[in-house]
Symmetry: C2
Subunit: 582 residues, 2 copies
Amino acid sequence: MYRTSTCGELRISDVGKTVTLAGWVQRSRKLGGMTFIDLRDRYGITQLVVENDLSLGREFVIQATGKVVERESKNPKIPTGDIEIKVESINILNKSLTPPFTIEDQSDGGEDLRAKYRYLDLRRNPLKKALELRHRIAHEVRNYLDAQGFLEIETPYLIKSTPEGARDFVVPSRMNPGQFYALPQSPQTFKQLLMVAGYDRYFQIVRCFRDEDLRADRQPEFTQIDCEMSFVEQEDVLGMFEGMMRSLFKNVLDVDIPNPMPRMCWYDAMDKYGSDKPDVRFGMTIHEITSEVQGHGFGVFDSVPYVGAIAVPGAAGYTRKQTDELTEWVKRPQVGAKGLVYIKLNEDGTIKSSVDKFYSEDDLRKVAAAVEAKTGDMILVLCGQKRKTQTQLGVLRVEMGGRLGLRDPHVFAPLWIVDFPLLEWSEEDGRFYAMHHPFTAPKPEHLDWFYSDKKEDLERVCANAYDFVLNGTELGGGSIRIHQADVQERMFQVLGIGKEEAEYKFGFIINAFKFGAPPHGGLAFGFDRTCALFGGQETIRDYIAFPKNNQGRDVMIDAPSKIDAVQMDELCLASTVKTIDP
Amino acid sequence: MYRTSTCGELRISDVGKTVTLAGWVQRSRKLGGMTFIDLRDRYGITQLVVENDLSLGREFVIQATGKVVERESKNPKIPTGDIEIKVESINILNKSLTPPFTIEDQSDGGEDLRAKYRYLDLRRNPLKKALELRHRIAHEVRNYLDAQGFLEIETPYLIKSTPEGARDFVVPSRMNPGQFYALPQSPQTFKQLLMVAGYDRYFQIVRCFRDEDLRADRQPEFTQIDCEMSFVEQEDVLGMFEGMMRSLFKNVLDVDIPNPMPRMCWYDAMDKYGSDKPDVRFGMTIHEITSEVQGHGFGVFDSVPYVGAIAVPGAAGYTRKQTDELTEWVKRPQVGAKGLVYIKLNEDGTIKSSVDKFYSEDDLRKVAAAVEAKTGDMILVLCGQKRKTQTQLGVLRVEMGGRLGLRDPHVFAPLWIVDFPLLEWSEEDGRFYAMHHPFTAPKPEHLDWFYSDKKEDLERVCANAYDFVLNGTELGGGSIRIHQADVQERMFQVLGIGKEEAEYKFGFIINAFKFGAPPHGGLAFGFDRTCALFGGQETIRDYIAFPKNNQGRDVMIDAPSKIDAVQMDELCLASTVKTIDP
């Protein structure tokens, strides 16, 4: 061992001990013939004092032996700040080139440069804390689930490509020329097979792969906490994983979340928050005001099926410039509203709107009452198709919450969204799609509607499906699965999937279900995002040791890259990329 | 919840309770108007008694409610054997087709059939125990390493293909046409980068991929316990992971392994056991008898550089037929010996060999003394090139140990093999290869030899490398890594790897090492094999939930398989497989 102590552990009670530390030179400064070194390792920083002039570059790796002494000028900012090491001998274990950016909490390096030198970026404290948090959460998850009788069972990564959903990454098989494995988008079918196999309680912290066009903060490989249970109903699953999240919040963050956790039905979430993943850290809920505003001669409102509003607290003082900016903001394609109407409930008791010519003060007060607005608030109104407008209001609400500082990342407001519709009607395709996936069970009390031929009956079938939502982000979701062959057949029928097609796409799982499938259900949590939210961050990249960039590239190792002709031949593959001769 | 209790938990103290169980019908028999059902779930089997004739097929999924009563004829073989459930109501949750093989400890199904219906095979007790054991070992490993300050850090699965070692599986990138990711053969470079990044103690239970021609009991995807530590010397690594294995043996199997664990230097292992993974559950070690047997006119022995022997205890009674069979056995290509000489130390005090015409009784007794053979033993002698002959004797030794029942899978004899040669000379290629990999550090005390130009000096350089061997199987191995640029440069020079080639193959890691790499080292354990050996089995297949067959196929899901033309086009790939028209 190159050390007797780490750089994070020595305290005033260690004064007098002779110790050896090893680590990286965070900084080094000469002062009156002495050299002061901040030595850093994973565990902290300790000050070394050398009684001569010493030239050590940043990030040099050194080993130093000396006596622990009390510091004259203590540093209360670090746990080792009461002591320093009076160095008796020092040993340079390795030199370092000057890093291309500073290894500090706030680095001066740009994102691309830090990605290329990820191993240096990872030395920075915020990233180290992020990966430590990730480890801690994974460990707590495993302890909780182990204690609850779950078995972690590894499912294969080289599986079969399924021709629907997101794109699979595929892996050519050399031993089976012309054939490919696929990397799993999730272990969904395998975990259901494990239930058929009688494993009763399964979990896995598992990598998943999706070959999607990457949006910001999407990764081609990501990690899930994947779980499944047998002989359970929705209530059992919710209770189990509410318990898991409660224990995570308590053990990792020392935060108490409500017991029981709040639940909201999907329809309420859409109506009140314009989102199936509502941020309930703040109110500002959406209210329908269609009946209040229609029939007053304002054609815009009269010609639409839905008018809704939110009351932004304390925003009555917004200037014309600010409301204009907001109007432009909601008209951006990302939101897509056609315009914005506002009503200000001024502090002086007056009321003022952008549609004053159509509405009397009394009319406006009725709207204010419907929206539960108070003096000082500004009401923002959007209109159009119901769900679309609610979604726009939801986006606006979150934006205003952010602007008003109501979205503190260290406040945690988890809830379950339940009672999802089972099916979604696609106007374009003239058919139903499964809102979750085709194995999600309809609620037993909705089976009559499920077997009805009427579109409106099928539309109101709810699923035993549930999402875990935290601070406006869906962290997890799942469902009770169909375990009866006849219900599954009906599901395929409703989705317009013929017997042959079902057999081709889902054959082996349908077959497995014929041999005594138990009632079962489960869910999966996005692990990267769980870690990020627990860390109070919105982006996941810092919570993944070696992430890919937005083009799916790892710029540190320069992957993906070309492979040589021999490999291509062995795989019986030829590239069809057209190259233009220079 | 479909149950109040599992099928494994009810005892005599529960008599009188009303309970609900759910599970699979293991068997069902009618007797005098009653039906007796063995109900099975993951946790055990409980007998149900129904007071009428009931026809339930094997593997039907049922739910039954009734009162716990004391059994008249108790079954001491199962933990619930004192009680049974007097059923008041029964509910068929799902029917089952008749399984294609029996779901019993010893199934009547062939291997291929069971592979196709893996989800049914997994219902059998031995497989369930295997996966439970796997979960338990993984959990204990994580607890131990977490307590020791290790962080589990996930490294990427979509990485860069490296053009040496075993073949990579590759993954075409749609977003980067003509380019490929590779699946990792191990996270070796990433864990070393994490040490450069200052993470100090890393581990991961991680999937690895190798596109090899599969031999028996090899899998294209397998799992490692992968570990790395900074600021350590060999002694620290051995101590840490000896501790891990000791805690595994104790906590999982309640077996105490020696403290400290035995160590054997590589040269001794080769000389005495003819293997770098000696099975030390039994003696029967190899002895060189070259000087004892040469010069007696037996040309076969006189013409070779090495003659070696083992003394097989109590085998003097082997018949001519048996020794003939053994001779044929060692001449098989898998062993490759040219012939076998035996010397029997008969119980009656006589001594008899297959080479009596060249050796006097006295000569043979000298050999017997050299081999430490006792009365009743049979000495088996092979000759040829030293290492090759020792290896053949090693294989013969293990075979004889097996035949004599000395290889009890529930006896555990772990040891470290240390002091490996750093380099291996290839006569064919006329160059040195790294015995482990090019980042393995030479022993500091051998640096003079390492910098010598003489082949014989380089051959005796030992590495700070180590293998963990259990019962004749290498479960893990690792090394202290090179962390100094000049030593790494010398290593590439010795291996005949030019600067440009090194830069091309190992560029990003060499570059990372310029920014303050700490001294570090680590190791990896084969997790599948660890589980199998802990379970007392030699083959890993039962310890993997969904293994591939020897052709790398998952016959249950039928993977790999063809992908459709659209996918191929999107990936800019064409198949060059020649198909013959029917």
